[in-house]
């Protein structure tokens, strides 16, 4: 269940439609400070169903939508799509490729899609259940999260184990 493609549009600093093809093995994301690298890891976590805006370094849900710069106006919607290679049929769908998409509008309205057809957040959670990509997993380890992981209470740590056992 390789992550083959990452598409982003209007999420944080990605004002223009941007596409990134990932390879198997080790993909390094590099670039100057403030260029948008952690915004990519935030976008992946968000597309997988993350509900806590604080984990995404924002205060309110709209903080993920491109807020404009000195030369560009703010956008009204943020969209992220992740395309998985499903040849190992880890995802319980009969497709060789599965794309999950998440959208949010400035109005606060959210949309989730699986292979371009709209679904509920619950459907997304069910799709990802059992793959190790759940919210409590270590599938996305954000910047400066070492203290949070080590200082968490024993009961919270247990959740990490429940994701994989």
């Amino acid at each position: 269940m390789l992550l083959k493609k990452f598409e982003v549009f209007g999420f944080k600093s990605f004002a223009d439609k941007t596409e990134l093809e990932f390879s198997p093995g080790i993909n390094a994301i590099v670039g100057p400070n403030g260029s948008g690298k952690s915004n990519i890891s935030d976008a992946i976590r968000w597309a997988l169903g993350e509900q806590s805006i604080r984990t995404l370094r924002g205060a309110k849900m709209e903080d993920v939508i491109f807020a404009g710069t000195t030369h560009r106006k703010p956008l009204g919607v943020a969209e992220v799509s992740l395309t998985f290679d499903n040849y190992d049929a880890l995802l319980p769908l009969d497709f060789g490729e599965v794309t999950v998409t998440r959208r949010v509008f400035r109005s606060g309205e959210s949309e989730y899609l699986i292979n371009k057809s709209q679904c509920r957040l619950k459907d997304l959670h069910e799709l990802l259940a059992g793959t190790g990509l759940g919210r409590e997993s270590m599938a996305v380890i954000g910047q400066n999260k070492i203290d949070e992981i080590l200082n968490s209470k024993p009961e919270e740590r247990r959740l990490l184990f429940e994701e994989v056992i």
Binding site: M1, A28, S35, P154, E162
Partner: protein, 165 residues
């Protein structure tokens, strides 16, 4: 249910102890259930002992030792059950050069079963990557992708003088 969790926990613990010793070059580490008699609710405690030191509170560990402890936990989960992919954002920033190399050796070893997407500024981690993806912003405030060639002098990548996409 309880049996399954106990078995899984024991297996992860065995990996954790082994990986910790390999990363730290000695010492010992163990995961324990805080209430062993109620397996289904118990929290998880982490005890580590870097080489030559006494078993100690996680808070006394150094910055780099804390990062290596989290890295040991992550790889022990992946050893037990490889996640399809894993996003890691600058977990290597507190590591010294030789621990950056050890971390990158683990990445290479585990990349046979899991895909890694690693944000980094450290040359040792870039060298272990199969592919580099460059992100840049320049003065526009908008993130863009650029293709990057890794030159022997890792600095080249960082300076944003990346070759245009």
């Amino acid at each position: 249910m309880a049996e399954k969790f106990e078995e899984g926990f024991a297996a992860i613990n065995a990996h954790f102890s082994d990986i910790f010793v390999r990363l730290f070059g000695g010492g010992s580490a163990v995961l324990e259930l805080s209430e062993a008699d109620s397996v289904l609710e118990s929290g998880v405690e982490i005890f580590v002992q870097p080489p030559g030191k006494r078993r100690q509170n996680l808070a006394l560990l150094s910055g780099g030792e804390r990062a290596l402890t989290v890295i040991s936990i992550l790889f022990s989960f992946l050893a037990y059950r490889p996640a399809p992919f894993c996003v890691i954002d600058e977990i290597d920033s507190a590591l010294d050069e030789s621990n950056v190399r050890r971390f990158s050796e683990f990445l290479s070893e585990y990349s046979k079963h899991s895909q890694f997407i690693v944000v980094t500024h450290r040359k040792g981690t870039m060298e272990a990557a199969d592919i580099l993806h460059g992100v840049t912003m320049e003065d526009s405030g908008v993130s863009r992708l650029v293709s990057v060639k890794f030159q022997e002098e890792g600095q080249q990548v960082e300076e944003g003088r990346m070759m245009r996409g």
